[in-house]
């Protein structure tokens, strides 16, 4: 349109050029702006290959061999670390184990060589390891961070090499409601760390800094990799000692084969969801009692398992004041919050008109639905159901606030006060919370309901123990009904109280005080006895009557249960610490016991050193913190990732995909340039319009 007008060709060319420039740049900026928003933080940890200073990911794969005999499992966990990089690597891997595992063996497997580890006081073990590491020797170190969380460190893995660590532990199985179960945790839900960062950091490399409330936070907050699929193979050999009705793998499809009383299965999966196998004896063969014994170094050990009477309280249970607490923190986001809401809704439906209740939700803050527990009438229950329906998971896990709120106040005379705590327990300040429970319980009972693919089993079990209640796991939406049903029966009240053991003089039994038992739970006691030629009597009160059973230890079957006793004693000493005992003295006692029995504890670690020289003096060693797989049904905060997922990067930015550098430019100069060009164009157009009019 400019061509046919009487116009200066130079002028026309300038306008055209400007228009073309504007159009192209405007087209370019539109998608650019979308990308700028979507690119996210781009905070990558991946380091250079060209400078050769840092090495990309070490791969970890796990094999678990469980040998289950009677009520004890002996488990061998093999972790293989493969160094795919071009440099020598120190691999550090944080992993979960059952909270009652008695870890007593470590082997370092380098090709054909097997180096057996030894237990040493924690600091000394670290020294042994660090010395070996700096001298270029291959070494392995396993440290306990929490009873259910451990760290493996392997020094001096050569480029292309694989080193395997084998950890051995024993564990008493859970028996509840006529079913035995073996639970093997495979994932770690990110722990919430309360408190203020400490000025002095311990140097752990987790996503959280050490704080005044969790001084070891940087050690228990391993980073994740959104794309990681860490393979694991589980092989179970199960010999229950009696014919079984069924064997079920709860969360992983598995084919179970059996030969006589021995069942076998193998599962190949990834570290996304805790594994649980449970089995049920044939109805007629349900054991009423079981005893196992072992002689070690001239000492005699026994493990006793006894079913209380099935007919407990027959009369209508007393009215209750039920306080439901539901965790709505960020870690519950995903399938967990749905399971929790369903469980809570079921519990609300079960309330009787003469019960009183309240609902507390918590994340950064704790909020109660009613200012005081309300009578459970139609209106209040309906209100509660609506309240629950609207809950969303987001924010922190300030569990102390929730516990204080739930345990504040007392039930009216004649009411049984019960707190049902629904959570994934993903906190780092467990001991402080146990202390709050112990101090503020005032006769109430606390029941924990562990939710999700990887609840913190240590928190679940110990919180319930300090709360004189019991714990339940819900790992899948499909089992909410069944698991809650079992809990409702337990909420009717304990079936066996005032449990006392009558043991031969000079015996040492743990737990020192047997807790009140709820429906379906057995008495489980580990004892060290002067002689196995003795009879143990167990007394208690059930439904208003005295109840007595006795067991002949001479008839006990053999089992590897000595280490289980040591573990039970350590737990008793740890509990004493929570109850305010002399920490220094208890620490000394635990250390002594652990060294004598070759056990990993908070104060003792297992270390193995291969004396064969490995890394030459000239080459550097680089630490690689192996990232964890994200637990099933969860999404972790990008700040917890070791590497940004590719999905975060917009399609148009493909060329710049995951490069490890933040975008450090704004569109400001481009905008200014465009703006100026557009102004110029406007001026030119105006000018040209005037000239045409004048012409």
């Amino acid at each position: 349109m400019f061509k046919n007008g009487p116009m200066n060709p130079l002028f026309s060319a300038a306008v055209t050029a400007l228009l073309v420039l504007l159009a192209t740049v405007a087209l370019a900026t539109a998608p650019v702006r979308v990308d700028l928003e979507r690119l996210g933080s781009g905070e990558l940890l991946f380091a250079t290959q060209q400078s050769g200073v840092y090495v990309p990911a070490t791969k970890v794969s796990t094999t678990v061999d469980a040998d289950i005999a009677g009520v004890v499992a002996r488990v061998r966990v093999r972790q293989s670390f493969r160094n795919d990089g071009d440099d020598w690597v120190e691999a550090v891997y944080v992993f979960p184990l059952p909270e009652n595992a008695a870890v007593d063996s470590l082997k370092l497997i380098v090709g054909e060589r097997v180096i057996v580890g030894e237990v040493q006081p924690r600091e000394q073990a670290r020294q042994t390891y660090e010395t070996a590491k700096s001298e270029g020797h291959r070494a392995g170190l396993v440290e306990q961070e929490r009873p259910n969380m451990f760290t493996t460190s392997i020094a001096n893995i050569a480029p292309g090499q694989t080193i395997t660590v084998e950890i051995g532990y024993s564990q008493v199985l859970r028996y509840d409601g006529g079913r035995f179960s073996w639970r093997f945790p495979l994932a770690i839900t990110p722990r919430y760390i309360p408190g203020e960062p400490l000025p002095r950091q311990s140097g752990g490399r987790g996503f959280a800094p050490d704080t005044d409330q969790v001084p070891d936070a940087s050690r228990i907050t391993p980073r994740y990799d959104a794309d990681a699929k860490n393979p694991v193979t589980l092989r179970v050999r199960l010999n229950a000692g009696f014919p079984l009705q069924e064997v079920v793998s709860r969360y992983h499809p598995a084919r179970v084969s059996h030969e006589g009383n021995e069942y076998r299965l193998e599962v190949r999966t990834t570290t996304a969801h805790d594994f649980e196998l449970d089995w049920q004896p044939q109805v007629s063969r349900v054991p009423a009692a079981a005893a196992f014994s072992e002689d070690v170094a001239g000492d005699h050990y026994a493990l006793i398992l006894l079913m209380p009477p099935t007919r407990g309280a027959t009369k209508e249970p007393p009215p209750r004041e039920l306080i439901f607490v539901i965790d709505t923190s960020g870690s519950m986001n995903g399938t967990s919050i749905e399971q929790a809401k369903q469980a809570l809704t079921l519990a609300l439906e079960r309330l009787r008109p003469h019960d009183r209740f309240n609902v507390i939700e918590f994340n950064d803050e704790a909020h109660a639905l009613f200012s005081q527990p309300a009578p459970a009438d139609r209106a209040t229950v309906l209100m509660a159901e609506r309240f629950v329906k609207r809950l969303r998971a987001n924010g922190g896990t300030e569990m102390a606030k929730a516990l204080r709120l739930a345990l504040a106040g007392g039930a009216p005379e004649g009411y049984l006060r019960q707190v049902v705590f629904i959570t994934d327990g993903s906190v780092g300040n467990e001991a402080a919370l146990f202390r709050i429970i112990k101090e503020r319980l005032h006769g109430a009972n606390l029941f924990t309901v562990g939710i999700g693919s990887a609840p913190n089993s240590y928190f679940m079990r110990k919180a319930a123990e300090f709360g004189h209640g019991t714990y339940t796991y819900i790992g899948d939406v499909g089992e909410v009904g069944e698991k809650m049903q079992a809990l409702f029966v337990k909420l009717e009240g304990p079936v066996l109280t005032d449990v006392r053991l009558v043991l031969p003089a000079g015996s040492e039994a743990y737990p020192a005080t047997v807790p009140n038992l709820y429906r379906g739970e057995p008495v489980v006691v580990s004892a060290k006895v002067p002689t196995l030629n003795s009879v143990v009597a167990i007394r208690g009160r059930s439904g208003g009557h005295e109840w007595v059973r006795s067991l002949d230890l001479a008839k006990a079957a053999h089992g590897e249960i000595a280490i289980v006793w040591v573990r039970a004693k350590v737990e008793e000493l740890e509990d004493e610490m929570v109850r305010g005992g002399d920490a220094a003295k208890l620490e000394k006692e635990i250390t002594r016991l652990a060294l004598a029995h070759h056990l990993i504890t908070d104060y003792t670690s297992l270390v193995a050193v291969d004396k064969t020289p490995a890394r030459p003096a000239g080459s550097e060693l680089h630490q690689d913190r192996v990232p964890l797989q994200v637990p099933a049904g969860q999404s972790v905060d990008p700040a917890m990732l070791k590497r940004q997922p590719k999905a975060l990067v917009g399609t148009l930015a493909l060329d710049y995909d995951a490069y490890g550098y933040p975008t450090t430019a704004t569109a400001a100069p481009l905008k200014l340039l465009l703006g100026a060009a557009a102004m110029l164009l406007a001026a030119l157009l105006l000018l040209s319009g005037r000239r045409r009019e004048a012409a």
Partner: protein, 206 residues
């Protein structure tokens, strides 16, 4: 015919004018935000230094003041934020949370926009002192060793290592206009030992 043409030119001019104003305002806003935020951040930093639990610069902020960065020779003084997302970098330079805090072995990585906060990066010379102050009142001094231009498509960021190091990052070319360019300008610095403990600033809260 003539009138129609003129009308068309007028409309075109108006459109271009509108677009121009829009772009200029958008660009100006970026500079303004960068300037203004540092003022609010100064307050947040004081709170953090005084030990306040909630030291967010403004109530809806998803970041907080983490460090104070000073380059005495260039008179630069800025508050460094937690995280290096684009949202954060609009307000101030940000510490990559995956990297290390100063005073520990490993690399502290701080990035900033080349047009605003980190426009001074090109003027840093080897031997320049860069000071980082942590909320506990400690000053960490770093000596600039040099700079490097990297292409993000071929290079990765190193975060490990036994030494306490600092890397400052901005986009390259330093005067460029492409907001998604693949090149980065990296300034390397190494710790020269921990400086003196600085008393917290006087605060009306205490």
């Amino acid at each position: 015919m003539k009138r129609g043409r003129a009308w068309l030119f007028g409309a075109g001019a108006l459109l271009a004018l509108g677009f121009g104003v829009w772009q200029l305002a958008g660009g100006g806003y970026i500079y303004l935000k960068a300037q203004l935020a540092q003022v609010l951040l100064e307050r947040s930093w004081r709170l953090a230094r005084a030990g306040a639990a909630d030291a967010r610069p403004w109530p809806w902020a998803d970041t907080r003041a983490l460090l104070r960065l000073r380059v005495p020779r260039l008179g630069v003084e800025q508050i460094v934020l937690a995280g290096a997302s684009n949202r954060t970098l609009a307000f101030g330079p940000g510490l990559m949370l995956a990297s290390q805090l100063p005073g520990r072995p490993g690399v502290t990585v701080i990035s900033g926009h080349r047009e605003t906060h980190f426009s001074f990066l090109g003027r840093l010379r080897a031997g320049d002192l860069v000071e980082l102050e942590t909320p506990d009142g400690r000053r960490h001094d770093y000596r600039v060793e040099g700079h490097r231009v990297v292409d993000v498509r071929r290079s990765r960021l190193r975060l490990g290592g036994p030494a306490d190091e600092l890397v400052l990052i901005t986009c390259y070319p330093l005067g460029g206009v492409h907001p998604l360019g693949p090149e980065r300008y990296l300034v390397y610095a190494r710790a020269v030992g921990q400086g003196a403990y600085l008393p917290p600033p006087s605060s009306s809260r205490r």
